[in-house]
Amino acid sequence: MATVPKPNELVIDHKPPQTGWMDTPVVFRPGTWCYGAKTKNLKALDLPNPREWSPGDEDWKLPENWKEIILEGIRERLEKYRSFKIFMDICVRCGACADKCHFWIGTGDPKNMPVLRAELLRSVYRNDFTTAGKLLGKMAGARELTMDVFKEWFYYFFQCTECRRCSLFCPYGIDTAEITLMARELLNLVGCNIDWIAGPAANCFNNGNHLGIQPHAFKDMIEFFVDEIEAVNGVRVEPTFNRKGAEVLFITPSGDVFADPGTYTLMGYLMLFHEIGLDYTWSTYASEGGNFGFFTSHEMMKRLNAKMYAEAKRLGVKWILGGECGHMWRVINQYMDTMNGPADFLEVPVSPITGTRFDNARATKMTHIVEFTADLIKHGKLKLDPSRNDHHRVTYHDSCNTARGMGLMEEPRYVLKNVCNNFFEMPAGTTREQTFCCGSGSGLNTDEFMEIRMRGGLPRANAVQYVHDKHDVNMMACICAIDRAVLTASMNYWVPGVGITGVHELVGNALVMEGETERTTDLRGEPLAGMEESEDEDL
């Protein structure tokens, strides 16, 4: 039987009581929060306060001195990060960021305005770390850290995808992603992570990848795709694993290995490497490009990221090539060398096919596959038949991290325009550096959070709807494993009829390989344009 609704759930109150944000505690309604981190996952990562708990519970089973721990944590981080200190101090609340957040646009919840999200933490900072706050209290925008405030942090800092769109518009460059990072570190000090982050991080730490796939299974999966490729075009590609002496180590998010539609992107990688004869190896130890440690703490990010260089060193490769992933690339671009470098045992990446020296990666020695492929195409080293993607009308979604944490914008477009004939941009203001988040980034792509994810995904979906209506777009390309998974869900709800693909899936479709048989289907087994007779079979 359905629960009997309370009267106020039936009637819309047209004028909700106007309480200030400081006095409006959070209501934990199912669908709007992620499950709490499980004991075993926190233990596997040596994180504090492992216990069984749920954010929906009244009692979060925090240690007795939780407040001290948090305040000490704030103090420590103020000393360690200038960004944090500055961002706590200089906001003038001009409101330029307010309507830039996809969660605010989609939910209308005022605490999803970036400025207010930051104020949740700032108010406590003022109360305990500034003279004005200590003297004037609420008048100075200060409030005490209470259990309600703490729960509010959990709710809203796990309702920020660290996409940095707000920071683009801030006159002082205040970056909510940075504030959310700090807040999540603080929450983790007393064991308040979400399980969708702690679980993959624990798996990645112990087994090499987020899903916890063991080495033999990882190899087996990739070999499975070798068969799939052969079924499509008769070419048998030959990947190698953990091979010492290879020139290049290739690392991609494990989502590409196990989750549709990323798997088709993975087939694209395999075909490309085979066709150009790249001397490369996969690693089962460093079998995860993604880094859910990034969503936990700086330390956890470093712990998980360490495997990339360690494995490159062990295998004795010359440089590393990285697959299509968003936050993986923010970590590689902005953190990896500082955390786990210097990579002096590697060489500056040089494309063995074109001879191009990737000068922009001369310190990290890690190149993005889209850069690598764009260079191949520019030098005419790939035989491409873009008409094999004619059944797709394609648009491109910039992933937040590659856009605002790196600036990789032209390269993927260049590749796309060379591998497909029908390419359409979404409206300005929704792409490139102003791109809208998928709505589920930063480890929030769990299914119990679906309602909020759909709200957060609305601004992106809305721009897709526009090109879908106007240009008949039926496929959105992206270069992020989380995007591939969650935009599929978001499109299913908001814009049915638009599929999601990685850029290299389209490369794989268009790539004319030596010795291949005539292709009648694309990598998904769907008929190519002009060959629709065998419509029904999908797989």
């Binding site: 944000w21 500055i86 330029a96 460059g173 090499g208 694993f241 500082t338 605002r404 203001g429």
Partner: protein, 330 residues
């Protein structure tokens, strides 16, 4: 609540100086002691805040990249919005500080009826902000004429340019009107736009009211309730040369104006107004996006617990051998 509170504080400040000067006759206190204290607080506080920020290191390179990265010669880099060199960063910071580049970015694409896309700026905040800050700077420079003898050229220049619309006597300054208009706009948007009202604190209203009162008293003094400017200059020069004197017969309006300035100076380092200094230190703006090219060192870096390959192989060795994966130890 925030509005009333802030308004009351500003009113109280004015009342204090009015009573202090007019009734009690504390000319020396308001003309010499408080100004010195205010300047001392300002300089000390400002330096302390900057030093305090600078004391915290910048462990990672975290610029917000707002344009195409540096990659191939055949792809045009956006050197100002995604700089990879120091020169680029200086350019980016200059645009940010002098022209408020990020606020300016607040552009939106609008879909009018039909398929036409039109571009529209959400430009009012940017425009008002820019005019306000530049007006304030020019007014500040103009006022240096009271503290210098001979008056330097750039002060004269600011004065001339500002008074370029020579209407009546004394000439009307452009910035006087602009600062009143823009501060009023900045206040009104806080009250009228619901989400702005929701996020505004007393600390947001107070500086607006203070500056409004400051500008108003200055304008009153210049155009309506005249004070003896020669005597004001005498006082200012005395302060500047550390031989303070308070000439008799300067109107109370001057003391009100002067005291509000002192309040602003003293309040400055402890408030959000410190964004003046902070913007220069903001790591998302003042760093080049060169972290793949040049290694950045984190001064407090420490070793962390990792799961080594050896541990991994020990755990999975048999399965790896069975699957034909190479291993270090058979």
């Amino acid at each position: 609540m925030g509005i009333k509170f802030s308004l009351l504080v500003v009113a109280a400040l004015i009342a204090v100086v009015f009573l202090g000067v007019k009734v009690v006759g504390m000319y020396y206190v308001f003309g010499v002691i408080i100004p010195y204290l205010a300047i001392l607080t300002f300089v000390g506080g400002f330096v302390y805040r900057i030093m305090n920020w600078a004391r915290s290191p910048v462990p990672f390179v975290i610029p917000t990249t707002a344009g195409q990265q540096y990659s191939f010669p055949w792809i045009k880099q956006n050197k100002l919005d995604n700089p990879s060199t120091t020169a680029g960063v200086i350019g980016r910071m200059a645009l940010e500080v002098l022209l408020f580049r990020s606020l300016f970015r607040n552009s939106k694409v609008e879909l009018r009826d039909g398929p036409k896309l039109t571009y529209q700026w959400e430009k009012w905040l940017w425009l008002a902000g820019l005019l306000f800050h530049w007006s304030f700077l020019i007014i500040f420079i103009r006022h240096l004429r009271f503290f210098t003898e001979p008056v330097p050229g750039f002060v004269h220049l600011a004065d001339t340019l500002d008074g370029i619309l020579q209407v009546g006597l004394p000439g009307i300054y452009l910035t006087d009107g602009l600062i009143l208009a823009t501060v009023t706009y900045l206040f009104i948007r806080r009250v009228v736009i619901p989400q702005m009202k929701y996020i505004s604190l007393p600390a947001d209203y107070f500086p607006l009211f203070l500056i409004l009162a400051l500008a108003t008293s200055g304008i009153l003094m210049r155009y309506f309730i005249r004070v003896d400017l020669l005597k004001v200059k005498e006082l200012a020069m005395g302060l500047a040369s550390f031989h303070p004197t308070v000439p008799e017969g300067i109107g109370v309006m001057f003391f009100i104006h002067f005291f509000l300035v002192c309040t602003l100076f003293a309040y400055f380092p402890f408030s959000k107004l410190m964004h003046l200094g902070g913007v220069f230190l903001s790591p998302t703006r003042n760093m080049p996006n060169d972290s793949r090219m040049v290694r950045h060192v984190n001064p407090w870096d420490y070793p962390v617990k990792v799961h080594t390959y050896e541990e991994y192989e020990d755990h999975f060795r048999e399965k790896m051998i069975e699957a034909g994966l190479p291993v270090e130890k058979e």
